[in-house]
């Protein structure tokens, strides 16, 4: 039988998946002219951060895959080049954030910035592989530096959301 902790985690996972999809779609509608083609703030990263701090790992992984598959189906980019590029960036970002979170004296903001940088790194590498031209690697320095303000912003929002929920790691610990 499911305990109330499981149910609570499940509800949060569902909510965060829906929120991630909504943020992804909203962001794809913003005509954002960046110094870098295709650059985004990465609003959906806010939900990944919340998952990392609220939910147990299996739920976080589930939310991540559900979000990228469902949002790409809704936007119409499922299995396109952009889907694989975003997916690679997202997976690398999730792995790096999991690792960085374990480093002592690292705040959510640091985790967020490392995740954003890993996301951009993964994207540029996958795009380079897809178009088979290493000239894309010349975007890497800009991509990494742009990740700092982007990760800082999403980290601030996630931290504010956690404070409002007033439940930092609560679900993870005792399901309250």
């Amino acid at each position: 039988m499911r305990s109330s902790a499981d149910t609570r985690a499940l509800v949060f996972a569902a909510l965060l998946t829906a929120l991630g999809i909504a943020l992804h779609i909203v962001e794809s509608m913003i005509p954002f002219t960046a110094p870098f083609p295709g650059a985004k703030i990465g609003l959906a990263n806010i939900t990944v951060l919340l998952c990392l701090y609220i939910l147990p790992l299996p739920y976080t992984v589930g939310v991540f895959f559900l979000r990228i598959i469902l949002s790409s189906l809704l936007v119409g980019t499922f299995l396109s080049a952009g889907f694989f590029i975003g997916g690679t960036g997202g997976m690398l970002s999730l792995l790096v954030m999991l690792a960085v979170k374990k480093i002592p004296r690292t705040s959510l903001l640091g985790v967020s910035m490392a995740g954003a940088a890993a996301h951009n790194l993964g994207q540029v590498l996958m795009a380079t592989f897809i178009i088979n031209n290493t000239a894309l690697l010349y975007y890497l320095p800009v991509a990494l530096l742009l990740a700092l303000p982007a990760g800082f912003l999403t980290g601030l929002v996630a931290r504010a959301a956690l404070a409002l929920l007033n439940m930092d790691s609560q679900v993870k610990k005792n399901g309250r």
Binding site: S28, P31, T33, P37, G38, V75, G76, T77, S80, A81, G82, I85, V100, I103, P104, R105, T106, S107, L109, G110, M113, A114, A117, A127, I130, I131, N132, N133, A135, L136, L137, Y138, Y139, L140, P141, V142, L144, L145, A147, L148, L156, D168
Partner: protein, 134 residues
């Protein structure tokens, strides 16, 4: 939760420094690009060159359309501004929003169509890409 005097914790600064250093390392090749006598616009599809045009020799304005993986993509050439994507049938239109490119190493990529325009140094064409690095 640990008490925080400022917004960032101690190791957050180490993370920022690591990212900046990585960016610096990856930007090193930029400093080794030789001065070019001229640039060549190369439009290619998955390593196959479709069209070449010396940047300085663009006469006026004209457009050229190529078939990509997913529909057609039209490049607009302008002697004053360089080259841009004027029409693309991809959904995201990222390549259209990139605008004109006219400096060496700049890229215009249409990822769904797997077509890109690249600005290469003229001398790199004969000597191979390695010749750019001194």
């Amino acid at each position: 939760m640990n008490k925080q005097a400022g917004l960032l914790s101690k190791n957050d600064f180490a993370i920022i420094l690591t990212i900046v250093l990585l960016a610096a390392v990856f930007s090193l090749p930029h400093f080794f690009v030789a001065d070019e006598q001229g640039q060549l616009i190369v439009i290619a599809n998955d390593q196959q060159v479709l069209y070449e045009q010396p940047l300085l020799a663009i006469g006026g304005k004209y457009e050229k359309t190529f078939a990509g993986n997913e529909g057609k993509i039209t490049f607009a050439f302008d002697s004053e501004h360089g080259v841009k994507v004027s029409h693309a049938s991809c959904p995201d239109q990222i390549c259209v929003h990139t605008g004109y490119i006219n400096k060496p190493r700049q890229l215009l990529v249409c990822l769904p169509g797997k077509i890109y325009a690249e600005i290469k140094p003229l001398n790199a064409k004969e000597a191979g890409l390695d010749a750019i690095l001194r």
